[in-house]
């Protein structure tokens, strides 16, 4: 038995090697680089000082947090209802809807941006169709604006949120609803007092994933707005690839702060969940 367990441990070596090589090493290198002077110099905190004193980078954080929060919030609210609606479908239909949702949740990046340009861009199918019908989209909506970008973000957040929330509804036992009904609770009261609090940790966890997903989104935003829209991943991309000149150390500092923002959001979510669901403490 001991020999078998030792053999099992040996099989995990490739896994830990991959984690070390492709997660830990880059992470440590990024943190190290963020404290390194440009051109491979000594220890410095000047990149952080520059980020906090430069309104341009602060605006990038503000924009990233805002679009991520907004798209995650809209995504989660819609997905809470959508995932529940799917659970009410017949079993065979549920499986089909989930396959489609899975496909759309993987439709992101440049192909997604292209699809939106084809449909809702300046000469997009729906824009031209609306013009034929006498409606000018351009008056109220442009794909290459803040609202257009938010729409694209919501689009790739929504299926992911549905995929993550759908299994959570299995945790709601039918007999809880029946017991609540026999005790005089309306469906609304049941969801308010029992259903939603039980789902809450999962909803909060999903929100955190959506928020992180949006914070790190690069390709869709870049393909849609180029570097016109000031977001942290686009700024990091520009500093690393060196559109003008490469500053990977400053890019690393931005990436470290991006990671800290995500960690902070996770901690706040965790704390809020435990405040509400005291039984989990």
């Amino acid at each position: 038995m001991k020999r078998f367990v030792s053999m099992l441990w040996i099989t995990t070596i490739p896994f830990f090697a991959m984690i070390a090589l492709f997660l830990l090493v880059p992470l440590l290198s990024m943190i190290g680089g963020s404290f390194q002077a440009e051109g491979g110099g000594g220890f410095t905190i000047s990149h952080y000082r520059e980020i906090f004193s430069n309104p341009y980078y602060l605006q990038a954080f503000e924009n990233s947090v805002l679009i991520s929060f907004l798209s995650a919030l809209i995504g989660i609210v819609v997905a809470v209802f959508a995932a529940y609606a799917i659970t009410r479908f017949p079993q065979s239909l549920q499986q089909r809807v989930l396959v489609i949702t899975n496909l759309t949740s993987n439709f992101a990046g440049i192909p997604l941006a292209f699809a939106f340009i084809v449909l809702l861009g300046n000469s997009g199918l729906f824009v031209l169709l609306a013009k034929q019908l006498g409606i000018d989209f351009g008056q109220s909506f442009t794909l290459y604006s803040w609202s257009g970008l938010t729409l694209v973000y919501i689009y790739f957040q929504l299926p992911l949120a549905v995929m993550l929330l759908y299994p959570l509804y299995n945790a709601i036992q039918k007999q809880w609803m029946e017991a609540a009904e026999l005790l005089g609770a309306s469906p609304w009261k049941f969801w308010l007092r029992i259903g939603f609090p039980v789902l809450l940790p999962g909803i909060v966890g999903t929100f955190s994933i959506l928020f992180a997903n949006a914070m790190g989104a690069y390709a869709s935003a870049y393909a849609l707005t180029g570097s016109n829209y000031n977001l942290v991943p686009i700024r990091i991309g520009a500093l690393v690839s060196g559109d003008i000149f490469a500053r990977p150390e400053l890019g690393s500092a931005l990436a470290v702060l991006l990671g800290l923002t995500l960690a902070g959001a996770l901690l706040v979510n965790e704390w809020l969940t435990r405040k509400i669901r005291r039984d989990l403490s």
């Binding site: 029946e178 017991a179 609540a180 026999l182 005790l183 005089g184 009261k189 007092r193 039980v198 669901r277």
Partner: protein
């Protein structure tokens, strides 16, 4: 009219008859058990009584009122589910108070009634515990308190003890019966455990194939089964055909029915009365069941089970010939041929 009256109730699921023209009557303060094998329709009957499932046909009356089309929350019915269905995010007190809050009872009264229930079910000190912090038996008692606190007209128990250990189950059976008597609560218990039904019920309804095949007090059901199904389900009855009975007891005069039942514990080693029937057979198998020793005797190619109290330390050996006596009164003719 009885306190709970069910008339001509039928229910079909996917073309299969789950309940067929079923009639049932329960008096106020009675504990009635629906006993039957899995799939006999007892849980469906309970759900129809609660309003969680609608019948296809038939009427349900509670306290003289027709509640057939009344919603579950307006039926004034309490129910304890097999899984207890406690709300995991609420404490013991909050679980018990839930129904009172939904019925907009004042906070002072809620506090009083919750405390009263906690004392009744013996959970003092566990008020602030969450369900996952409780044992199965404690969870069951919370579920019972939650159903009783709203003072329902009828309490429904859907196999509430089936998930518990034998010892805890026996303790809770007693406790359940004591509380039910104390509150004079009209109660319907669903179970497939014959011993449990015998231990707690005022009356037992035995179900099979969506029908009630026999009902009566535990004593009546056990000693006077009317069909082979009841005889086999309720105990370890020996069910013999008329031909088999004639073979082992040729001198016994009996009514002209197809089958007869004899309880294994009615066989004795001594003749107590002149009319006792004498039977002889070879021991084919001996099983020690704690306080009882079960012999399987071969009486002229008819296998017969005999239970004797485990008084002697030495068991009789396989192959030994044994002579036993049984009273003609204990040879029960099974009049019902259906089910």
């Amino acid at each position: 009219m009885s306190y709970v009256q069910i008339e001509h109730l039928s229910k079909t699921f996917h073309g299969q008859h789950v309940l067929q023209q079923l009639d049932l009557a329960i008096e106020k303060g009675e504990l009635v058990t629906l006993l039957g094998p899995s799939g006999c329709g007892k849980s469906t009957l309970l759900r129809i009584l609660s309003g969680l499932t609608a019948p296809d046909t038939g009427m349900i009356y509670i306290d003289g009122k027709d509640v057939t089309d009344v919603s579950p929350k307006n039926r004034q019915i309490g129910m304890v589910f097999q899984s207890y269905a406690l709300f995991p995010n609420l404490t013991v007190s909050q679980n018990i108070a839930f129904g009172l809050e939904m019925n907009k009872i004042s906070k002072t009264e809620i506090r009083l009634r919750v405390q009263e229930m906690i004392e009744l079910v013996g959970l003092v000190g566990k008020e602030q515990a969450y369900p996952r912090e409780l044992s199965g038996g404690q969870q069951q008692r919370v579920a019972l308190a939650r159903s009783l606190v709203t003072r329902p007209k009828v309490l429904l128990l859907d196999e509430p003890l089936s998930a518990l250990d034998a010892q805890i189950r026996k303790n809770l059976q007693k406790q359940l019966r004591t509380i039910q008597r104390e509150l004079n609560m009209t109660t319907v218990l669903v179970t497939h455990d014959q011993e449990e039904a015998m231990a707690v019920s005022d009356r037992i309804y035995i179900m099979n194939g969506g029908r009630i095949v026999q009902h009566g007090s535990p004593q009546e059901i056990y000693t006077q089964p009317r069909s082979e199904f009841v005889a086999r389900f309720i105990g370890n009855y020996n069910v013999l055909t008329a031909e088999q009975l004639n073979r082992i007891a040729p001198n016994l005069s009996h009514p002209a029915v197809e089958r007869f039942a004899i309880r294994p514990e009615t066989f004795r080693e001594q003749r107590l009365a002149g009319e006792d029937i004498c039977l002889t057979g070879n021991i084919a198998q001996v099983t020690m069941l704690g306080n009882i020793t079960r012999y399987e005797l071969n009486m002229g190619d008819v296998p017969v089970l005999v239970d004797t109290l485990h008084l002697s330390l030495e068991q009789e050996e396989i192959g030994t010939t044994k002579t036993l006596y049984v009273s003609p009164k204990d040879v029960i003719p099974l009049y019902d041929t259906i089910a």
